[in-house]
């Protein structure tokens, strides 16, 4: 059973003025998040992904549709019941949103106080959490004494305090530099692996999805335009908008402009070979080209590793007799996808 099941969920806001149309932030979204998933939701700003995330813990009420968390319908619940549900859902934020007036310890203890824990239990739990995120020595520090990465680690400790089954990450690494981003993503992976916490990650950065997510949904204009296993979406995006996101991290097929440059610099026929699960087929392709006595060089592309599976597009410039090239390409084309640039 899905941990979070969204069915035809819509969120609209009243028109800003009397004449205007209402604003639809989330439009008829259906999505299942299974226990243990790291579910990435990617889209440009304004695509509705942050709103979608806030529907899951009902910080924003959905206008229509059904949202089930752990089998329980949350659309239409009262604020008081929702508070109970929110205790079981952690959330971290782009700007960390730490309580500046409380110490690190006070921040992490806060959700436990809300949950009504006893003081001794709170102390033990906070110590355990700070150990987990590697900030045991900062317990007495205030947030303004911490670096961005440390702040987000406090945010993660705070979000995990009540042992939630679900963690919502709202652009959690967008305010961090690349090194710190990796550090925080590694921590989130550990949270997922060691505690089995399901994570929904909102981001506009495809490399975040690449390094952490197992499933991905691409949002545009409030709709989910494509979703599935990260490997499938990355290796064969079905939608042009998804393709643009994939292109930000995957060096794929050269654009017409890039092709013109390649032609100027390299002789021969320009051919793009697309691999999925590349390891075995790659070697065979090169062997075959060499066996046909063709002269070739790699001019564009790369192989990517997604969740331990490799895929990619390699563009070659191949020189030799036309008939020999045609024969070799036909033979290779039986195994992998071959596209010749015209």
């Amino acid at each position: 059973m899905a941990l979070v099941a969204l069915k035809n969920v819509t969120k609209s806001y009243p028109a800003p003025d009397r004449k205007g149309a209402e604003i639809v932030a989330v439009d008829d979204v259906t999505l299942d998040v299974e226990p243990g998933d790291v579910y990435g939701i990617i889209g440009y700003s304004g695509a509705g992904k942050s709103t979608l995330l806030r529907l899951v813990n009902a910080l924003e009420p959905a206008t229509a549709g059904s949202i089930e968390f752990d089998g329980r319908e949350i659309v239409g619940l009262g604020e008081r019941e929702l508070r109970g549900i929110r205790l079981g859902i952690g959330m971290i934020f782009q700007q960390f949103n730490l309580f500046e007036a409380k110490t690190v310890r006070g921040n992490v203890a806060y959700p436990l106080k809300v949950a009504g824990w006893k003081r001794a239990e709170i102390d033990a739990r906070v110590t355990e959490l700070l150990d987990f995120v590697g900030l045991a020595d900062k317990a007495g520090a205030y947030p303004d004494q911490l670096s961005g990465g440390q702040k987000q680690r406090v945010g993660i400790a705070r979000a995990l305090a009540t042992s939630p089954r679900l963690l919502l990450a709202d652009e959690a690494t967008s305010a961090l530099d690349p090194d710190t981003t990796q550090e925080v993503l590694e921590l989130l992976k550990r949270v997922n692996r060691e505690f089995g916490v399901t994570i929904i990650v909102i981001t506009h950065e495809m490399d975040v999805i690449q390094s952490i997510a197992t499933k991905v949904a691409v949002m545009d204009g409030g709709r989910v335009i494509e979703n599935g296993d990260v490997f499938d979406v990355f290796s064969a995006p079905q939608n042009p908008a998804s393709g643009r996101f994939v292109a930000t991290v995957v060096k794929g097929v050269p654009s017409p402009a890039e092709l013109a440059v390649l032609r100027e610099r390299h002789e021969g026929r320009i051919v793009t070979i697309s691999f999925r699960d590349a390891d075995a087929s790659q070697a065979q392709v090169f062997l075959e080209l060499a066996a046909a006595g063709l002269d070739f060089e790699l001019v564009y592309g790369g192989i990517n590793d997604i969740q331990g599976r490799a895929f990619g597009h390699l563009t070659l410039a191949i020189r030799g007799a036309d008939a020999a090239i045609d024969a070799a390409l036909a033979s290779i084309g039986a195994r992998v996808e071959v596209t010749e640039a015209r």
Partner: protein, 219 residues
């Protein structure tokens, strides 16, 4: 100067009366103003407990009373003071009226400082299942504490100012002392002595406020 020496004991009594009026007004008006300000903040549109009726009524009431010059307010509110605390004249009547006037001013300062608290922090508290009252008491007010202390420091100086009008309804204090013994008896030295002591009070209060705010904000 001789006259001042003669009035010495009365001078110190007047000083004590001023401090008494300021302290009690700050306590009563400060608390009422905090409550009013928090209610204004919480009930405003998009607030933690939005309620248009409560917000608009409070807003109108506060805007009605705030521009009234205190000396007129003092006269106008006298029957109410007599009704509530049993006496319409003297220091206690002044404390009653001044607490009301101050609470309206303080409520605005409290509201203004609370709206500067980052919405993200409030959202974080909500995401942890905290209800609105808990969020107000344990997140919003502590987060705004530094600026709140500076706001209260600002208002306490205004309260010192307004206690000088106590003489108008038969109260005492340094303001009354300066008017009765200094101004009316052509003794500028006495007027200046009262004035200087008030300046000292204000300086000390301002210093304390700044120090406390800095301590709270750790900057």
């Amino acid at each position: 100067m001789d006259r001042l020496a003669e009035l010495g004991p009365d001078f110190w009594v007047a000083a004590a009366e001023t401090l008494y009026m300021v302290a009690l007004t700050l306590l009563i008006g400060g608390f009422a103003g905090l409550v009013l300000g928090v209610v204004l903040y919480a009930t405003r549109a998009g607030g933690l407990m939005p309620n248009r009726v409560v917000y608009n009524v409070l807003n109108v009431v506060i805007n009605f009373f705030r521009p009234i010059p205190f000396i007129i307010f003092l006269a106008a509110i006298q029957p109410l003071a007599r009704y509530v605390i049993g006496i319409g004249i003297g220091n206690d009547a002044l404390i009653f009226s001044l607490s009301i006037a101050a609470s309206f001013a303080i409520s605005r300062i409290v509201e203004q400082n609370l709206v500067t608290v980052s919405p993200g922090v409030i959202e974080a508290a909500r995401s942890m299942g905290a209800g609105p009252v808990r969020t107000l008491c344990t997140v919003v007010i502590p987060e705004a504490l530094g600026p709140l202390i500076l706001g209260y420091t600002f208002i306490v100086v205004a309260i010192v100012d307004m206690t000088a009008m106590a003489g108008f309804i038969g109260g005492g204090g340094l303001g009354n002392f300066a008017l009765v013994y200094g101004f009316r008896q052509y003794q500028p030295a006495i007027t200046w002595a009262a004035l200087l002591l008030i300046v000292v009070f204000v300086q000390v209060l301002q210093f304390l406020g700044n120090w406390l705010a800095r301590k709270v904000m750790r900057r």
